[in-house]
């Protein structure tokens, strides 16, 4: 039977690969990703499931799924001109098809995408934690950017349904689950701080609060507090917290073994393990 061996939460700032290439492995962002990579290596996953939000690259507003699952032999990216290497990675097709069927049977009407690339929200985290790209990756797309967003309760429940599906998988398989995204980030909207940039972190206090709830394993409180209104008050990209919440739905309620925050950037790096 397949087992879930770790949960991981990460940011996917598009500038991070170039920043780390410039500043070296001792810069904070490099060290934080390296800490997560160390834990991931230790749990020896066979497969990664990543909850991600497409930034209008894989999909567009003509056809924008609330939830979608990527089922193909391989995927590649980033497909959005993020300055970083371009990667190709395998997708666990049979497991993905099983998860799709299983969650639809549990009343989650998830969309299917079979010919797709992925953007920086998948490839920036993978670039840092599995740069060899030898672990197959199953992307689950969550609409975190184009309101109306799914509710936090629905995302958590989707995670629970995916957990049930994984646990029904008959073969031995070690699965690690990733939630990708920020807690507070505004791009192009009026909440950006005054200055020279078109992006910023309007609500580091919310980022700090989310970290506290995660650290204390107060997941019910997090899900209850993460209304669309509250998340978007922290920035128009604040809905990316939903990717973390879906990941938490898969792993259940545990305290993280590490959580490293960059609240001035509205995000954190975290790992949950239980063995």
């Amino acid at each position: 039977m397949a087992e879930i061996v770790a949960g991981i939460g990460l940011p996917h700032t598009p500038g991070s690969p170039a920043l780390v290439a410039r500043e070296g492995p001792q810069c904070e962002t490099a060290r934080f990703y390296a800490e997560v990579a160390k834990h991931l290596d230790a749990v020896k996953p066979d497969v990664l499931v990543i909850f991600t939000d497409d930034h209008f690259n894989t999909f567009f507003l003509d056809n924008f799924p609330t939830f979608a699952i990527g089922i193909a032999e391989t995927t590649s990216g980033p497909n959005d001109q993020t300055p970083m290497p371009h990667y190709k990675v395998a997708v666990p097709v049979a497991l993905a098809a099983h998860i799709r069927a299983s969650v639809i049977a549990r009343s989650f009407d998830i969309s299917l995408v079979q010919d797709f690339e992925v953007d920086h929200a998948v490839m920036v985290p993978l670039h840092f934690i599995t740069p060899h790209m030898k672990i197959p990756v199953l992307p689950i797309f969550v609409n975190a950017l184009a309101p109306p967003l799914p509710t936090s309760q629905r995302c958590y429940a989707l995670g629970e349904a995916i957990r049930a599906a994984i646990e029904q998988w008959p073969e031995p398989l070690r699965v690690a689950v990733i939630g990708s995204g920020s807690f507070s980030l505004e791009i192009g909207g009026p909440k950006i701080p005054p200055g020279e940039r078109a992006a910023g972190t309007p609500d580091p206090g919310w980022s700090r609060h989310v970290e506290e709830l995660l650290a204390q394993a107060r997941i019910d409180d997090l899900v209850a507090e993460a209304t669309t209104r509250r998340m978007l008050a922290a920035g128009n990209i604040g809905g990316e917290l939903l990717n973390w919440i879906a990941m938490l739905g898969v792993i259940g309620t545990h305290k993280p073994v590490t959580i490293l925050a960059q609240h001035n950037q509205g995000h954190a790096f975290a790992v949950w393990r239980w063995s």
Binding site: F56, L61, D80, I187, E196
Partner: protein, 89 residues
């Protein structure tokens, strides 16, 4: 309103390098064939980010324009103009 067309235009500026180069060379000519109202065309050509945002264009896509200073919108100009929007959407 053809807000979808403006969102699409912003996305094309990222993904379609030929279109992006055309926007740099001659913005009015580059958007001539796009399905936009006169007001929308004028708002784009004058870099009126606040109006485009208030009409419902997605800010993540609008912000692409600053990557190449399209329609004269530098990041600093964008920042200044978006702050003339006061109400929350």
């Amino acid at each position: 309103m053809s807000i979808y067309a403006i969102d699409k235009l912003c996305r094309d500026a990222l993904h379609d390098i030929g279109f992006r180069e055309a926007l740099k060379r001659d913005p009015a000519d580059a958007i001539a064939s796009r399905d936009l109202t006169g007001d929308e065309r004028n708002a784009l050509l004058s870099g009126d980010i606040a109006r485009l945002y208030q009409w419902g264009c997605h800010p993540f896509l609008l912000a692409y324009l600053t990557r190449w200073d399209l329609f004269g919108i530098t990041p600093a100009v964008y920042n200044q103009r978006i702050h003339t929007v006061h109400e929350d959407r």
